[in-house]
Amino acid sequence: MAVLCAVAFVVLVSGCGTEDSGRAASRDEAVSEVSATSVETQSVRLSGKLTVTGSSTVAPLAAEIAKRFETEYPEVRIDVQTGGSSRGIADALSGVADLGMASRAMKTDEEGQGLIGHRLAVDGVSIIVNSENSIDGLTKQQVVQLFTGEITNWSDLGGSDAEVVVVNKAEGRATLEVFLNHFELKNEQIQADVVVGDNQHGIKTVAWNPLAIGYVSIGAAQSEADLGTPIRLVPVDGVEPTAANVASGRFEVTRPLLIVSKGEPVGLAAAFLEYAMSPTVHDLIKAQGFETVAQ
Protein backbone atom coordinates (compact mmCIF):
# COMPACT_ATOMS: atom_id res chain seq x y z
CA MET A 1 0.00 0.00 0.00
CA ALA A 2 2.80 2.36 0.86
CA VAL A 3 4.32 1.72 -2.53
CA LEU A 4 1.07 2.45 -4.33
CA CYS A 5 0.54 5.71 -2.50
CA ALA A 6 4.09 6.68 -3.22
CA VAL A 7 3.63 5.93 -6.92
CA ALA A 8 0.45 7.93 -7.10
CA PHE A 9 1.95 10.96 -5.49
CA VAL A 10 5.39 11.01 -6.85
CA VAL A 11 4.33 14.07 -8.82
CA LEU A 12 3.33 15.95 -5.70
CA VAL A 13 6.50 15.03 -3.90
CA SER A 14 8.68 16.04 -6.81
CA GLY A 15 6.81 19.33 -6.91
CA CYS A 16 7.74 20.05 -3.32
CA GLY A 17 11.20 18.61 -3.80
CA THR A 18 12.29 21.42 -6.06
CA GLU A 19 11.09 23.99 -3.61
CA ASP A 20 12.79 22.36 -0.66
CA SER A 21 16.10 22.01 -2.42
CA GLY A 22 15.68 25.60 -3.52
CA ARG A 23 15.23 26.63 0.08
CA ALA A 24 18.27 24.71 1.13
CA ALA A 25 20.18 26.52 -1.57
CA SER A 26 19.05 29.92 -0.35
CA ARG A 27 20.69 29.18 2.98
CA ASP A 28 23.90 28.56 1.09
CA GLU A 29 23.46 31.83 -0.70
CA ALA A 30 24.75 33.90 2.20
CA VAL A 31 27.85 31.74 2.31
CA SER A 32 28.44 31.98 -1.42
CA GLU A 33 28.03 35.72 -1.43
CA VAL A 34 30.52 36.20 1.34
CA SER A 35 33.12 34.05 -0.37
CA ALA A 36 32.44 35.61 -3.74
CA THR A 37 32.73 39.20 -2.58
CA SER A 38 35.82 38.46 -0.60
CA VAL A 39 37.50 36.86 -3.59
CA GLU A 40 36.45 39.61 -5.91
CA THR A 41 38.89 41.93 -4.22
CA GLN A 42 41.65 39.38 -4.78
CA SER A 43 40.33 39.04 -8.39
CA VAL A 44 39.61 35.93 -10.53
CA ARG A 45 39.31 33.13 -7.93
CA LEU A 46 35.57 32.61 -7.59
CA SER A 47 34.03 29.91 -5.45
CA GLY A 48 30.68 28.96 -3.99
CA LYS A 49 27.32 27.65 -5.13
CA LEU A 50 24.70 29.34 -7.25
CA THR A 51 21.11 28.20 -7.78
CA VAL A 52 19.31 29.17 -10.98
CA THR A 53 15.69 28.08 -11.52
CA GLY A 54 12.93 28.70 -14.03
CA SER A 55 11.92 28.41 -17.69
CA SER A 56 12.33 25.05 -19.39
CA THR A 57 13.27 26.90 -22.58
CA VAL A 58 16.15 28.81 -20.98
CA ALA A 59 17.34 25.98 -18.72
CA PRO A 60 19.23 23.92 -21.36
CA LEU A 61 21.08 27.06 -22.49
CA ALA A 62 21.79 28.15 -18.93
CA ALA A 63 23.07 24.66 -18.13
CA GLU A 64 25.51 24.82 -21.06
CA ILE A 65 26.72 28.25 -19.99
CA ALA A 66 27.03 27.04 -16.40
CA LYS A 67 29.09 24.05 -17.52
CA ARG A 68 31.55 26.32 -19.32
CA PHE A 69 31.63 28.73 -16.39
CA GLU A 70 32.40 25.85 -14.04
CA THR A 71 35.34 24.71 -16.16
CA GLU A 72 36.79 28.22 -15.98
CA TYR A 73 36.15 28.54 -12.24
CA PRO A 74 36.45 24.97 -10.90
CA GLU A 75 35.46 25.98 -7.35
CA VAL A 76 32.07 27.21 -8.45
CA ARG A 77 29.03 24.93 -8.60
CA ILE A 78 25.96 26.12 -10.48
CA ASP A 79 22.71 24.28 -9.98
CA VAL A 80 20.24 24.83 -12.85
CA GLN A 81 16.69 23.65 -12.14
CA THR A 82 13.71 23.62 -14.50
CA GLY A 83 10.27 24.72 -13.35
CA GLY A 84 8.78 27.21 -15.76
CA SER A 85 9.02 30.98 -16.12
CA SER A 86 6.50 31.70 -13.39
CA ARG A 87 8.53 29.69 -10.91
CA GLY A 88 11.75 31.36 -12.03
CA ILE A 89 10.27 34.76 -11.34
CA ALA A 90 8.70 33.66 -8.05
CA ASP A 91 11.97 32.07 -6.89
CA ALA A 92 14.06 35.12 -7.77
CA LEU A 93 11.56 37.32 -5.94
CA SER A 94 11.44 35.20 -2.79
CA GLY A 95 15.19 34.59 -2.78
CA VAL A 96 14.73 30.82 -3.06
CA ALA A 97 17.03 30.97 -6.09
CA ASP A 98 19.97 33.33 -6.67
CA LEU A 99 18.84 33.95 -10.23
CA GLY A 100 15.64 33.09 -12.10
CA MET A 101 15.09 32.23 -15.75
CA ALA A 102 12.10 33.42 -17.74
CA SER A 103 11.16 33.01 -21.38
CA ARG A 104 8.80 35.95 -21.54
CA ALA A 105 9.00 39.70 -20.98
CA MET A 106 8.65 40.90 -17.39
CA LYS A 107 5.29 42.27 -16.34
CA THR A 108 5.18 45.77 -14.91
CA ASP A 109 4.08 44.59 -11.47
CA GLU A 110 7.03 42.20 -11.38
CA GLU A 111 9.42 45.03 -12.25
CA GLY A 112 7.70 47.10 -9.59
CA GLN A 113 8.77 44.54 -7.00
CA GLY A 114 12.41 45.16 -7.83
CA LEU A 115 13.04 42.38 -10.31
CA ILE A 116 15.40 43.06 -13.20
CA GLY A 117 15.27 41.02 -16.42
CA HIS A 118 18.58 40.65 -18.23
CA ARG A 119 18.17 39.75 -21.90
CA LEU A 120 20.26 36.68 -22.57
CA ALA A 121 18.87 35.82 -26.00
CA VAL A 122 15.78 36.00 -28.17
CA ASP A 123 13.60 33.08 -29.21
CA GLY A 124 10.76 32.91 -31.69
CA VAL A 125 7.56 30.91 -31.40
CA SER A 126 6.75 29.13 -34.63
CA ILE A 127 3.66 27.40 -35.93
CA ILE A 128 4.48 23.77 -36.71
CA VAL A 129 2.67 21.10 -38.70
CA ASN A 130 3.48 17.50 -39.57
CA SER A 131 5.74 17.19 -42.62
CA GLU A 132 3.00 15.22 -44.42
CA ASN A 133 0.87 18.38 -44.34
CA SER A 134 0.94 20.16 -47.72
CA ILE A 135 0.25 23.65 -46.30
CA ASP A 136 3.30 25.82 -46.99
CA GLY A 137 2.20 29.10 -45.50
CA LEU A 138 -0.57 30.70 -43.46
CA THR A 139 -1.83 34.20 -42.85
CA LYS A 140 -2.24 35.60 -39.38
CA GLN A 141 -6.00 35.54 -39.98
CA GLN A 142 -5.91 31.85 -40.93
CA VAL A 143 -3.95 30.95 -37.80
CA VAL A 144 -6.61 32.66 -35.70
CA GLN A 145 -9.38 30.85 -37.58
CA LEU A 146 -7.64 27.48 -37.17
CA PHE A 147 -7.13 27.89 -33.44
CA THR A 148 -10.59 29.28 -32.72
CA GLY A 149 -12.32 26.49 -34.61
CA GLU A 150 -13.60 28.60 -37.53
CA ILE A 151 -11.61 26.41 -39.89
CA THR A 152 -11.92 22.76 -38.93
CA ASN A 153 -10.88 21.02 -42.14
CA TRP A 154 -7.56 21.27 -43.94
CA SER A 155 -9.39 21.32 -47.30
CA ASP A 156 -10.56 24.88 -46.49
CA LEU A 157 -6.94 25.91 -46.84
CA GLY A 158 -6.27 23.87 -49.95
CA GLY A 159 -5.02 20.82 -48.08
CA SER A 160 -6.40 17.30 -48.00
CA ASP A 161 -9.94 16.62 -46.78
CA ALA A 162 -9.17 15.88 -43.15
CA GLU A 163 -9.97 17.32 -39.76
CA VAL A 164 -7.65 19.85 -38.12
CA VAL A 165 -6.18 18.74 -34.79
CA VAL A 166 -5.34 21.85 -32.76
CA VAL A 167 -2.52 21.39 -30.26
CA ASN A 168 -2.49 24.00 -27.50
CA LYS A 169 -0.17 24.54 -24.52
CA ALA A 170 -1.15 24.07 -20.89
CA GLU A 171 -1.96 27.02 -18.63
CA GLY A 172 0.99 29.01 -17.36
CA ARG A 173 3.42 28.19 -20.18
CA ALA A 174 5.33 31.17 -21.56
CA THR A 175 4.91 29.98 -25.17
CA LEU A 176 1.14 30.09 -24.66
CA GLU A 177 1.28 33.71 -23.46
CA VAL A 178 3.50 34.80 -26.37
CA PHE A 179 1.24 33.05 -28.86
CA LEU A 180 -1.97 34.51 -27.39
CA ASN A 181 -0.49 38.03 -27.26
CA HIS A 182 0.69 38.00 -30.83
CA PHE A 183 -2.51 36.62 -32.30
CA GLU A 184 -4.66 38.71 -29.96
CA LEU A 185 -6.48 35.69 -28.59
CA LYS A 186 -7.73 34.65 -25.20
CA ASN A 187 -7.07 31.09 -24.04
CA GLU A 188 -10.83 30.53 -23.64
CA GLN A 189 -11.33 31.16 -27.38
CA ILE A 190 -9.00 28.38 -28.45
CA GLN A 191 -10.78 25.20 -29.50
CA ALA A 192 -8.02 22.75 -28.68
CA ASP A 193 -8.10 19.03 -29.41
CA VAL A 194 -4.94 18.26 -27.49
CA VAL A 195 -3.22 20.14 -24.68
CA VAL A 196 0.49 19.54 -24.21
CA GLY A 197 3.03 20.47 -21.56
CA ASP A 198 6.52 21.32 -22.69
CA ASN A 199 8.01 21.88 -26.18
CA GLN A 200 9.06 18.23 -26.56
CA HIS A 201 5.56 17.00 -25.76
CA GLY A 202 4.21 19.39 -28.42
CA ILE A 203 6.77 18.37 -31.03
CA LYS A 204 6.17 14.63 -30.47
CA THR A 205 2.41 15.10 -30.70
CA VAL A 206 2.66 16.94 -34.04
CA ALA A 207 5.35 14.59 -35.35
CA TRP A 208 3.06 11.58 -34.87
CA ASN A 209 -0.15 13.21 -36.08
CA PRO A 210 -0.38 14.24 -39.76
CA LEU A 211 -3.43 16.42 -39.02
CA ALA A 212 -1.99 18.40 -36.15
CA ILE A 213 -1.05 22.07 -35.91
CA GLY A 214 0.76 23.47 -32.91
CA TYR A 215 3.28 26.08 -31.88
CA VAL A 216 6.62 25.71 -30.11
CA SER A 217 9.94 27.45 -29.57
CA ILE A 218 11.80 27.92 -32.89
CA GLY A 219 15.03 26.77 -31.27
CA ALA A 220 13.50 23.48 -30.14
CA ALA A 221 11.54 22.94 -33.37
CA GLN A 222 14.45 23.67 -35.71
CA SER A 223 16.88 21.38 -33.91
CA GLU A 224 14.29 18.57 -33.91
CA ALA A 225 13.50 19.12 -37.61
CA ASP A 226 17.23 19.04 -38.38
CA LEU A 227 17.42 15.66 -36.64
CA GLY A 228 14.80 14.34 -39.05
CA THR A 229 11.69 14.57 -36.83
CA PRO A 230 8.73 14.85 -39.26
CA ILE A 231 7.66 18.41 -38.44
CA ARG A 232 7.71 21.57 -40.53
CA LEU A 233 7.95 25.19 -39.37
CA VAL A 234 5.25 27.16 -41.17
CA PRO A 235 5.78 30.77 -42.34
CA VAL A 236 3.07 33.19 -41.21
CA ASP A 237 2.28 36.14 -43.52
CA GLY A 238 5.25 35.11 -45.66
CA VAL A 239 7.86 35.46 -42.93
CA GLU A 240 10.01 32.34 -42.53
CA PRO A 241 10.49 31.33 -38.89
CA THR A 242 14.28 31.34 -38.88
CA ALA A 243 16.83 32.54 -36.38
CA ALA A 244 18.01 35.12 -38.91
CA ASN A 245 14.52 36.61 -39.21
CA VAL A 246 14.21 36.64 -35.43
CA ALA A 247 17.50 38.53 -35.22
CA SER A 248 16.50 41.08 -37.85
CA GLY A 249 13.13 41.62 -36.19
CA ARG A 250 11.18 40.57 -39.31
CA PHE A 251 9.75 37.59 -37.43
CA GLU A 252 7.55 39.16 -34.80
CA VAL A 253 6.33 36.28 -32.61
CA THR A 254 9.32 36.50 -30.32
CA ARG A 255 10.09 36.57 -26.69
CA PRO A 256 13.15 37.52 -24.71
CA LEU A 257 14.98 34.82 -22.80
CA LEU A 258 15.77 36.43 -19.48
CA ILE A 259 17.94 35.89 -16.47
CA VAL A 260 16.03 37.49 -13.61
CA SER A 261 17.60 38.97 -10.52
CA LYS A 262 16.16 40.79 -7.55
CA GLY A 263 17.90 44.15 -7.68
CA GLU A 264 21.37 44.36 -9.18
CA PRO A 265 23.11 41.06 -8.47
CA VAL A 266 26.30 40.96 -6.42
CA GLY A 267 29.19 38.56 -5.96
CA LEU A 268 29.06 35.21 -7.68
CA ALA A 269 25.64 35.88 -9.22
CA ALA A 270 26.97 39.08 -10.81
CA ALA A 271 30.03 37.29 -12.16
CA PHE A 272 27.92 34.51 -13.69
CA LEU A 273 25.46 36.99 -15.16
CA GLU A 274 28.24 39.03 -16.74
CA TYR A 275 29.69 35.84 -18.20
CA ALA A 276 26.31 34.72 -19.58
CA MET A 277 25.79 38.11 -21.25
CA SER A 278 29.25 38.19 -22.82
CA PRO A 279 30.09 37.25 -26.44
CA THR A 280 32.02 34.24 -25.04
CA VAL A 281 28.75 32.27 -24.94
CA HIS A 282 27.30 33.37 -28.30
CA ASP A 283 28.20 30.04 -29.88
CA LEU A 284 26.20 28.25 -27.16
CA ILE A 285 23.19 30.51 -27.81
CA LYS A 286 23.35 29.81 -31.56
CA ALA A 287 23.78 26.09 -30.95
CA GLN A 288 20.45 26.07 -29.06
CA GLY A 289 18.76 27.71 -32.06
CA PHE A 290 18.29 31.08 -30.32
CA GLU A 291 19.42 34.53 -31.41
CA THR A 292 21.89 36.71 -29.58
CA VAL A 293 21.05 40.23 -28.51
CA ALA A 294 23.14 43.30 -29.12
CA GLN A 295 24.17 44.60 -25.71
Partner: protein, 293 residues
Protein backbone atom coordinates in the same frame (compact mmCIF):
# COMPACT_ATOMS: atom_id res chain seq x y z
CA UNK B 1 4.77 -19.07 21.25
CA UNK B 2 6.15 -15.57 21.70
CA UNK B 3 9.88 -15.09 21.35
CA UNK B 4 11.46 -14.52 24.74
CA UNK B 5 12.09 -10.87 25.48
CA UNK B 6 15.37 -9.75 26.83
CA UNK B 7 16.38 -6.14 27.14
CA UNK B 8 20.00 -6.90 26.79
CA UNK B 9 21.75 -5.30 23.82
CA UNK B 10 23.89 -8.38 23.52
CA UNK B 11 20.90 -10.40 22.39
CA UNK B 12 21.17 -10.40 18.58
CA UNK B 13 17.51 -11.28 18.19
CA UNK B 14 16.48 -8.24 20.22
CA UNK B 15 18.75 -5.98 18.20
CA UNK B 16 17.32 -7.31 14.95
CA UNK B 17 13.80 -6.71 16.23
CA UNK B 18 14.62 -3.09 17.11
CA UNK B 19 16.18 -2.52 13.70
CA UNK B 20 13.12 -3.96 11.99
CA UNK B 21 10.80 -1.83 14.10
CA UNK B 22 12.79 1.28 13.22
CA UNK B 23 12.73 0.48 9.51
CA UNK B 24 9.00 -0.23 9.57
CA UNK B 25 8.19 2.99 11.42
CA UNK B 26 10.26 5.04 8.98
CA UNK B 27 8.26 3.80 5.99
CA UNK B 28 5.00 4.23 7.91
CA UNK B 29 5.96 7.77 8.94
CA UNK B 30 6.88 8.74 5.39
CA UNK B 31 3.39 7.90 4.14
CA UNK B 32 1.85 9.75 7.07
CA UNK B 33 4.08 12.79 6.49
CA UNK B 34 3.19 12.87 2.80
CA UNK B 35 -0.51 12.84 3.63
CA UNK B 36 -0.04 15.58 6.26
CA UNK B 37 2.04 17.69 3.88
CA UNK B 38 -0.52 17.43 1.11
CA UNK B 39 -3.30 18.27 3.56
CA UNK B 40 -1.37 21.28 4.83
CA UNK B 41 -0.70 22.54 1.31
CA UNK B 42 -4.33 22.00 0.32
CA UNK B 43 -5.78 23.82 3.33
CA UNK B 44 -5.73 27.37 1.83
CA UNK B 45 -7.72 26.14 -1.18
CA UNK B 46 -10.19 24.20 0.93
CA UNK B 47 -10.67 27.26 3.19
CA UNK B 48 -10.73 30.08 0.60
CA UNK B 49 -12.39 28.41 -2.36
CA UNK B 50 -14.23 25.61 -0.66
CA UNK B 51 -15.43 22.23 -1.78
CA UNK B 52 -18.75 23.42 -3.32
CA UNK B 53 -16.98 25.51 -5.98
CA UNK B 54 -14.87 22.53 -7.07
CA UNK B 55 -18.12 20.90 -8.09
CA UNK B 56 -20.24 23.93 -9.02
CA UNK B 57 -17.84 25.92 -11.23
CA UNK B 58 -18.47 25.27 -14.89
CA UNK B 59 -14.87 25.55 -16.08
CA UNK B 60 -11.26 24.99 -15.08
CA UNK B 61 -9.54 28.38 -15.42
CA UNK B 62 -7.29 28.57 -12.38
CA UNK B 63 -5.09 31.39 -13.69
CA UNK B 64 -7.73 33.74 -15.08
CA UNK B 65 -7.21 37.28 -13.72
CA UNK B 66 -10.81 38.31 -13.97
CA UNK B 67 -12.80 35.24 -13.03
CA UNK B 68 -10.88 32.19 -11.92
CA UNK B 69 -12.89 28.98 -12.06
CA UNK B 70 -12.11 25.70 -10.36
CA UNK B 71 -14.63 23.18 -11.70
CA UNK B 72 -13.18 19.71 -11.28
CA UNK B 73 -16.06 17.53 -12.40
CA UNK B 74 -14.70 17.08 -15.95
CA UNK B 75 -11.39 15.84 -14.58
CA UNK B 76 -13.09 13.59 -12.04
CA UNK B 77 -15.10 12.18 -14.94
CA UNK B 78 -11.88 11.81 -16.94
CA UNK B 79 -10.12 9.87 -14.18
CA UNK B 80 -13.23 7.80 -13.46
CA UNK B 81 -13.96 6.87 -17.07
CA UNK B 82 -10.36 6.05 -18.00
CA UNK B 83 -10.09 3.84 -14.90
CA UNK B 84 -13.46 2.16 -15.43
CA UNK B 85 -12.77 1.46 -19.11
CA UNK B 86 -9.31 0.09 -18.44
CA UNK B 87 -10.51 -2.15 -15.59
CA UNK B 88 -13.42 -3.48 -17.67
CA UNK B 89 -11.11 -4.28 -20.56
CA UNK B 90 -8.22 -5.67 -18.54
CA UNK B 91 -10.15 -7.85 -16.07
CA UNK B 92 -11.35 -10.62 -18.42
CA UNK B 93 -7.98 -10.77 -20.18
CA UNK B 94 -6.13 -10.88 -16.88
CA UNK B 95 -8.41 -13.53 -15.34
CA UNK B 96 -8.10 -15.72 -18.44
CA UNK B 97 -4.30 -15.41 -18.30
CA UNK B 98 -4.32 -16.33 -14.61
CA UNK B 99 -6.53 -19.40 -15.22
CA UNK B 100 -4.29 -20.41 -18.10
CA UNK B 101 -1.17 -20.08 -15.99
CA UNK B 102 -2.65 -21.97 -13.02
CA UNK B 103 -4.58 -24.78 -14.70
CA UNK B 104 -4.01 -25.19 -18.40
CA UNK B 105 -0.32 -25.14 -19.22
CA UNK B 106 2.64 -27.30 -18.13
CA UNK B 107 4.64 -25.98 -15.21
CA UNK B 108 7.57 -24.75 -17.34
CA UNK B 109 5.30 -22.71 -19.62
CA UNK B 110 3.43 -21.36 -16.59
CA UNK B 111 6.76 -20.25 -15.13
CA UNK B 112 7.63 -18.45 -18.37
CA UNK B 113 4.21 -16.75 -18.58
CA UNK B 114 4.46 -15.60 -14.98
CA UNK B 115 7.90 -14.06 -15.60
CA UNK B 116 6.51 -12.33 -18.71
CA UNK B 117 3.65 -10.84 -16.70
CA UNK B 118 6.13 -9.65 -14.07
CA UNK B 119 8.23 -8.12 -16.81
CA UNK B 120 5.19 -6.33 -18.23
CA UNK B 121 4.46 -5.06 -14.72
CA UNK B 122 7.91 -3.54 -14.57
CA UNK B 123 7.80 -1.59 -17.83
CA UNK B 124 7.95 2.12 -16.94
CA UNK B 125 4.74 3.98 -17.67
CA UNK B 126 6.47 6.57 -19.85
CA UNK B 127 7.38 3.71 -22.19
CA UNK B 128 3.73 2.65 -22.37
CA UNK B 129 2.81 6.28 -22.99
CA UNK B 130 5.26 6.74 -25.84
CA UNK B 131 4.22 3.43 -27.36
CA UNK B 132 0.61 4.62 -27.15
CA UNK B 133 1.51 7.89 -28.87
CA UNK B 134 3.30 6.27 -31.79
CA UNK B 135 1.11 3.18 -32.25
CA UNK B 136 -2.35 3.50 -30.69
CA UNK B 137 -2.96 7.22 -31.25
CA UNK B 138 -2.19 7.23 -35.02
CA UNK B 139 -4.52 4.23 -35.49
CA UNK B 140 -7.39 6.00 -33.74
CA UNK B 141 -6.50 9.27 -35.47
CA UNK B 142 -6.86 7.68 -38.90
CA UNK B 143 -10.36 6.63 -37.88
CA UNK B 144 -11.63 9.43 -35.64
CA UNK B 145 -9.31 12.45 -35.11
CA UNK B 146 -7.63 13.68 -32.95
CA UNK B 147 -6.54 10.22 -31.78
CA UNK B 148 -5.43 11.35 -28.35
CA UNK B 149 -8.60 10.37 -26.57
CA UNK B 150 -10.41 8.55 -23.80
CA UNK B 151 -10.17 5.40 -25.93
CA UNK B 152 -6.39 5.71 -26.30
CA UNK B 153 -6.09 6.13 -22.53
CA UNK B 154 -8.31 3.11 -21.87
CA UNK B 155 -6.35 0.89 -24.29
CA UNK B 156 -2.90 1.84 -23.02
CA UNK B 157 -3.93 1.73 -19.38
CA UNK B 158 -5.66 -1.64 -19.69
CA UNK B 159 -2.42 -3.10 -20.98
CA UNK B 160 -0.69 -1.78 -17.87
CA UNK B 161 -3.35 -3.27 -15.59
CA UNK B 162 -3.29 -6.80 -17.04
CA UNK B 163 -0.18 -7.92 -15.12
CA UNK B 164 -1.34 -6.30 -11.85
CA UNK B 165 -4.70 -8.05 -11.97
CA UNK B 166 -3.45 -11.32 -13.50
CA UNK B 167 -0.72 -11.83 -10.90
CA UNK B 168 -3.05 -11.31 -7.95
CA UNK B 169 -5.74 -13.45 -9.58
CA UNK B 170 -3.18 -16.24 -10.03
CA UNK B 171 -2.22 -16.03 -6.35
CA UNK B 172 -5.90 -16.16 -5.36
CA UNK B 173 -6.54 -19.16 -7.61
CA UNK B 174 -3.55 -21.00 -6.15
CA UNK B 175 -3.97 -20.12 -2.47
CA UNK B 176 -7.74 -19.95 -2.05
CA UNK B 177 -8.81 -22.61 -4.52
CA UNK B 178 -5.77 -24.81 -5.16
CA UNK B 179 -6.70 -27.56 -2.62
CA UNK B 180 -10.31 -27.58 -3.71
CA UNK B 181 -9.34 -27.90 -7.37
CA UNK B 182 -6.94 -30.76 -6.67
CA UNK B 183 -9.54 -32.66 -4.60
CA UNK B 184 -12.16 -32.19 -7.29
CA UNK B 185 -9.76 -33.37 -9.97
CA UNK B 186 -8.99 -36.43 -7.83
CA UNK B 187 -12.72 -37.18 -7.71
CA UNK B 188 -12.70 -37.30 -11.48
CA UNK B 189 -14.33 -33.97 -12.38
CA UNK B 190 -13.20 -32.69 -15.76
CA UNK B 191 -10.95 -29.68 -15.93
CA UNK B 192 -13.57 -27.28 -17.30
CA UNK B 193 -15.91 -27.96 -14.40
CA UNK B 194 -13.12 -27.77 -11.82
CA UNK B 195 -11.90 -24.41 -13.11
CA UNK B 196 -15.09 -22.58 -13.94
CA UNK B 197 -17.55 -24.03 -11.41
CA UNK B 198 -15.23 -24.45 -8.43
CA UNK B 199 -11.90 -22.66 -8.56
CA UNK B 200 -12.89 -19.32 -10.11
CA UNK B 201 -16.00 -18.81 -7.92
CA UNK B 202 -14.00 -19.84 -4.84
CA UNK B 203 -11.23 -17.36 -5.68
CA UNK B 204 -13.61 -14.60 -6.76
CA UNK B 205 -12.99 -12.43 -3.71
CA UNK B 206 -9.26 -12.62 -4.17
CA UNK B 207 -9.67 -11.82 -7.85
CA UNK B 208 -11.91 -8.89 -6.92
CA UNK B 209 -9.17 -7.66 -4.62
CA UNK B 210 -6.74 -7.77 -7.52
CA UNK B 211 -9.17 -5.81 -9.69
CA UNK B 212 -9.46 -3.07 -7.06
CA UNK B 213 -5.68 -2.98 -6.74
CA UNK B 214 -5.55 -2.53 -10.52
CA UNK B 215 -8.11 0.27 -10.28
CA UNK B 216 -5.96 2.00 -7.65
CA UNK B 217 -3.01 1.81 -10.01
CA UNK B 218 -5.14 3.19 -12.86
CA UNK B 219 -6.40 6.15 -10.82
CA UNK B 220 -2.85 7.11 -9.86
CA UNK B 221 -1.28 6.53 -13.27
CA UNK B 222 0.14 9.75 -14.67
CA UNK B 223 2.80 9.72 -17.35
CA UNK B 224 1.08 7.41 -19.85
CA UNK B 225 -2.26 9.24 -19.64
CA UNK B 226 -0.64 12.67 -20.02
CA UNK B 227 0.84 11.51 -23.30
CA UNK B 228 -2.13 9.71 -24.86
CA UNK B 229 -5.30 11.30 -23.44
CA UNK B 230 -5.12 14.76 -25.05
CA UNK B 231 -5.64 16.62 -21.75
CA UNK B 232 -8.67 18.68 -22.73
CA UNK B 233 -10.75 19.63 -19.69
CA UNK B 234 -14.18 18.34 -20.69
CA UNK B 235 -16.70 15.65 -19.91
CA UNK B 236 -16.23 13.40 -22.95
CA UNK B 237 -19.26 12.86 -25.16
CA UNK B 238 -17.75 9.82 -26.83
CA UNK B 239 -14.80 7.44 -26.57
CA UNK B 240 -12.99 9.51 -29.19
CA UNK B 241 -13.02 12.75 -27.19
CA UNK B 242 -9.85 13.79 -25.38
CA UNK B 243 -10.00 13.94 -21.57
CA UNK B 244 -7.82 15.23 -18.77
CA UNK B 245 -7.39 13.14 -15.65
CA UNK B 246 -6.67 14.58 -12.20
CA UNK B 247 -3.15 13.16 -12.24
CA UNK B 248 -2.46 14.63 -15.70
CA UNK B 249 -3.70 18.00 -14.47
CA UNK B 250 -1.34 17.93 -11.50
CA UNK B 251 1.59 16.85 -13.66
CA UNK B 252 0.98 19.54 -16.27
CA UNK B 253 0.27 22.47 -14.01
CA UNK B 254 2.08 21.89 -10.72
CA UNK B 255 5.50 23.13 -11.75
CA UNK B 256 3.95 26.26 -13.22
CA UNK B 257 1.50 26.98 -10.45
CA UNK B 258 1.85 29.59 -7.75
CA UNK B 259 -0.06 30.37 -4.55
CA UNK B 260 -3.80 29.65 -4.84
CA UNK B 261 -3.55 27.60 -8.00
CA UNK B 262 -0.91 25.41 -6.39
CA UNK B 263 -3.03 24.87 -3.35
CA UNK B 264 -5.99 23.77 -5.48
CA UNK B 265 -3.75 21.24 -7.19
CA UNK B 266 -2.77 19.88 -3.78
CA UNK B 267 -6.46 19.62 -2.91
CA UNK B 268 -6.96 17.43 -5.97
CA UNK B 269 -3.94 15.42 -4.86
CA UNK B 270 -5.56 14.91 -1.48
CA UNK B 271 -8.66 13.60 -3.21
CA UNK B 272 -6.49 11.14 -5.13
CA UNK B 273 -4.88 9.93 -1.91
CA UNK B 274 -8.33 9.30 -0.44
CA UNK B 275 -9.58 7.43 -3.52
CA UNK B 276 -6.43 5.32 -3.86
CA UNK B 277 -6.37 4.61 -0.12
CA UNK B 278 -10.01 3.55 -0.22
CA UNK B 279 -9.43 1.24 -3.19
CA UNK B 280 -6.36 -0.37 -1.63
CA UNK B 281 -8.17 -0.87 1.70
CA UNK B 282 -11.19 -2.37 -0.05
CA UNK B 283 -8.89 -4.66 -2.02
CA UNK B 284 -7.24 -5.87 1.19
CA UNK B 285 -10.56 -6.48 2.85
CA UNK B 286 -11.90 -8.49 -0.07
CA UNK B 287 -8.78 -10.63 -0.46
CA UNK B 288 -8.57 -11.36 3.30
CA UNK B 289 -12.22 -12.38 3.53
CA UNK B 290 -11.70 -14.55 0.48
CA UNK B 291 -8.80 -16.32 2.09
CA UNK B 292 -10.79 -16.94 5.30
CA UNK B 293 -13.95 -18.21 3.61
Amino acid sequence: MKPSRSNSWSDPDRRLELALRAAASVSGCVVLLIVLFVLWQALPALRDIGLPRFVADADWRPTSDTQPQFGMLPMLAGSGLVTLGAVLLATPLAVFSAVLVEFYVPRSVAWLLRRLLELLNGVPSVVFGFWGLVVVVPLINAWQPPGQSLLAGVLVLSLMLIPTIALSAAVALRDDAGDLARSAAALGLDRGAVVWSLAVPRASRGIGGGVLLGAARAVGETMAVVIVCGNIVQVPASLFDPVRTITANIAMEMSYATAGHRSVLFATGLLLILVTGFLVAASRLLSRRGARA
